[in-house]
């Protein structure tokens, strides 16, 4: 069971995605790159308050080709989407305690990019989100959400 946000954990998420996509009747051929920005909000122990951890995820034909963690934006990488939100909310999603769609609808996690694709490929997006939120047994070395004081 990998620790959250470690290379092993991302490998596991990647496998979970790819396993699930394989079950879909049709997958889009598009390739796109997503940045996930996890902002230290004073509650998550995994990102210092005010800091941002940036992960890039590359999807090709529905499957995850690679991921990487960056210290800062890499201008050479052309992003298609950017998801930004408080660390404790990302943690809660990864723990399967919060729903990513709710987080987007409520404005907690902001989404930037061409929403048409996300809407048209709603099924696949659902699968990706499920894989992220429920696909991996995760360990929480610094504590597991909900943290004290987090409702």
């Amino acid at each position: 069971m990998p620790d959250v946000y470690t290379p092993e954990w991302y490998e596991a998420v990647k496998s979970a995605i790819n396993d699930r996509v394989a079950t879909l009747a049709s997958v889009p051929v598009d390739e796109f790159t997503i940045a996930v920005e996890i902002v230290g909000d004073g509650r998550t122990p995994y990102v210092a308050e005010g800091d941002v951890r940036r992960f890039l995820i590359r999807l090709e034909g529905g499957t995850c080709a690679w991921y990487r963690e960056l210290d800062a934006d890499d201008p050479s990488v052309k992003l298609d989407y950017r998801f930004t939100g408080p660390g404790s909310d990302f943690d809660a999603i990864a723990a399967g305690l919060a729903d990513p769609i709710d987080a987007a609808l409520s404005g907690t996690i902001r989404v930037k990019g061409d929403m048409r694709f996300l809407m048209r490929q709603a099924e696949m997006v659902q699968v990706l989100l499920e894989a992220y939120s429920q696909g991996v047994e995760t360990t929480w070395p610094k504590g597991r959400p909900p943290y004290d004081g987090v409702s």
Binding site: R82, R110, K112
Partner: protein, 533 residues
């Protein structure tokens, strides 16, 4: 000196959509020419001293609701070009005939307190609706308004897949079968609150009794406290957009009345003007005026399929009501009798007068659609409450707006010229009933702007249709204005539609111009520097 007559892009119409598209393209390195028929750029962004010098009246667009989310505001540095926006603290009010009043504030707690005086239950419902809408409003409006449109079917399917219906009390797909009236009746109990909320929809052109428009209503509520005033008149925004265009090498010509779009080999390659100029476009021609002007007047009929011409003639639908305005130069601010009930009404930017119930509004619509003038219950905007420069020292401007038919049952639209002053006086009398201090002595001068005047001043607003196309479920998203034109492209290569005939619609949204830009960028391979993610 020979006139430069060839450009990369020629844009017809210097309204905010034409200027926005032009400025982005100019910033992308294209040589851009924007042609405007009038002597002023801006289209509906026109501010004029129609009463007396020093009184700046917004003849058309007065409310800017999307300034905090429309990407061009930042991308084109609108504020850097001198535009000052104010978001009035007391945004809007309804005053009822029994002397009570409801006020909408930028401070939601105050709005809820005002509502609770009529119904605590409705205040709680509104809080839920607003809270929920406010969360998704940016995501959904960003998704829906600032990108080329998806179909209702695609949207419905996606919302179902994401299970949105289960998560949101107010985002149900059922809304696409409801009127705003039905939505309000389902969720609210108090007639006055419902009347205000129904009026709010109508003021945004989402007529409260039209089936299907409930789909957009939660989003309207999400922006209910987000109306902005452009200091010094809405025309300032036009200057700002033009300035951005010109600073990046683009050109706007006023008094350049396009008569023809030149098509060669199925491709739009230029335009001709009434002044006899022939101008060439290397890459594209974009029209921001009406579908009728663009495809029936400017383009030779043989260049488009007969079927499309027929559909433009018979299927492009316009609003079945328009707006009658009275512009006033005054010596004072209105002092409402209802201030005894709620002092904040005297600070409300816009006040709806005497609409006590949805039924009253419904009866008005019926009458207006039959071409009749109703007993006026106008809404009254006093920009001077929040604009320090729109009137001379110690004076104020007033703007009365009344829903009205374009063509009168008795005499058609031409009859407006004889009726205007008379009806204007009735509107002023109506205002005075609620604000008795607005006596003749306090009114320096006033001038009317009838639905017929809208069409005469801005002919792209066919039949006084200030949204440039009916707001209805059938004329929304990719169906607007016709399915084959819904993605900003036309059957003619290199000819784009980029005005308010397109999704999302009229209003100062910047949406049509911005969305047409995305399609044009895709077609021409322009790097989308503006959407760096």
């Amino acid at each position: 000196m020979t006139l430069k007559d060839t450009y990369d892009a020629i844009i017809i119409g210097a309204g905010h959509n034409g200027l926005t598209l032009g400025a982005y393209l100019a910033r992308s390195g294209l040589e851009v020419l924007v042609l405007e028929r009038r002597h002023e750029e801006g289209g509906g962004l026109c501010s004029e001293e129609v009463t007396q010098p020093g009184f700046v009246h917004n003849i058309h667009a007065n409310y800017h609701t999307f300034v905090d989310m429309a990407p061009p505001v930042a991308d084109l540095d609108v504020r850097g070009h001198g535009v000052e926006y104010v978001r009035p603290e007391v945004q809007m009010a309804s005053i009822y005939d029994d002397g009570t009043a409801l006020t909408i504030h930028t401070d939601m707690d105050k709005t809820l307190a005002s509502m609770a005086r009529f119904s605590e239950k409705d205040a709680a419902t509104f809080q839920r609706l607003y809270g929920e809408a406010h969360g998704f409003v940016d995501l959904l409006l960003g998704t829906l308004m600032y990108q080329p449109p998806l179909s209702v079917k695609e949207l419905t399917k996606a919302l179902a897949t994401f299970g949105v219906e289960d998560r949101s009390e107010f985002l149900s797909v059922k809304l696409r079968r409801e009127t705003i009236n039905q939505f309000l009746n389902r969720h609210f109990e108090n007639d006055k609150i419902k009347a205000h909320l129904a009026f709010h929809g109508a003021v945004c052109s989402y007529t409260n009794d039209v089936a299907g428009l409930a789909i957009g209503y939660p989003l309207l509520v999400g922006k209910i406290d987000n109306w902005h005033l452009c200091v010094g008149g809405s025309h300032r925004l036009a200057h700002a957009l033009w300035r951005d265009l010109a600073q990046h090498g683009g050109v706007m010509w006023s008094d350049a009345d396009v008569t023809d779009i030149i098509v060669e080999g199925g491709r739009a390659v230029g335009v001709k003007t009434a002044g006899g100029l022939e101008l060439h476009a290397r890459k594209l021609v974009a029209s921001t005026v009406s579908v009728e002007q663009t495809l029936l007047e400017f383009v030779n009929p043989k260049e488009i399929p007969d079927e499309l011409s027929q559909r433009v003639k018979s299927e492009v639908v316009h609003k079945d009501w328009s707006l009658f305005s009275v512009h006033m130069a005054m010596r004072t601010f209105p002092e409402y009798k209802a201030a005894e009930f709620d002092p904040d009404v005297n600070r409300a930017w816009v006040v709806n007068l005497g609409i006590d119930s949805i039924e009253r509004l419904n009866a008005d619509w019926k009458s207006i659609r039959a071409g009749n003038l109703v007993d006026p219950q106008p809404n009254a905007a006093v920009n001077s409450l929040y604009d320090p420069v729109d009137a001379p020292e110690g004076c104020t401007t007033g703007l009365l707006r009344q829903f009205a038919p374009f063509a009168l049952a008795d005499g058609g639209e031409g009859a407006w010229d004889d009726m205007g002053r008379w009806y204007g006086q009735k509107c002023i009398d109506a205002w005075r009933r609620y604000a008795p201090n607005l006596t003749d002595d306090e009114i320096i001068d006033w001038s009317v702007f009838t639905p017929h005047d809208i069409a005469r001043k801005l002919p792209n607003m066919v039949r006084g249709d200030w949204m440039m196309g009916e707001i209805s479920l059938a004329n929304m998203l990719d169906q607007r204005p016709l399915p084959e034109l819904g993605q900003y492209r036309t059957p003619i290569d290199g000819l784009y539609m980029a005005g308010s005939t397109q999704h999302p619609h009229g209003f100062i949204t910047f949406g049509p111009g911005y969305n047409a830009l995305q399609v044009i960028a895709d077609d021409l391979g322009i790097e989308k520097w503006w959407s760096r993610i």
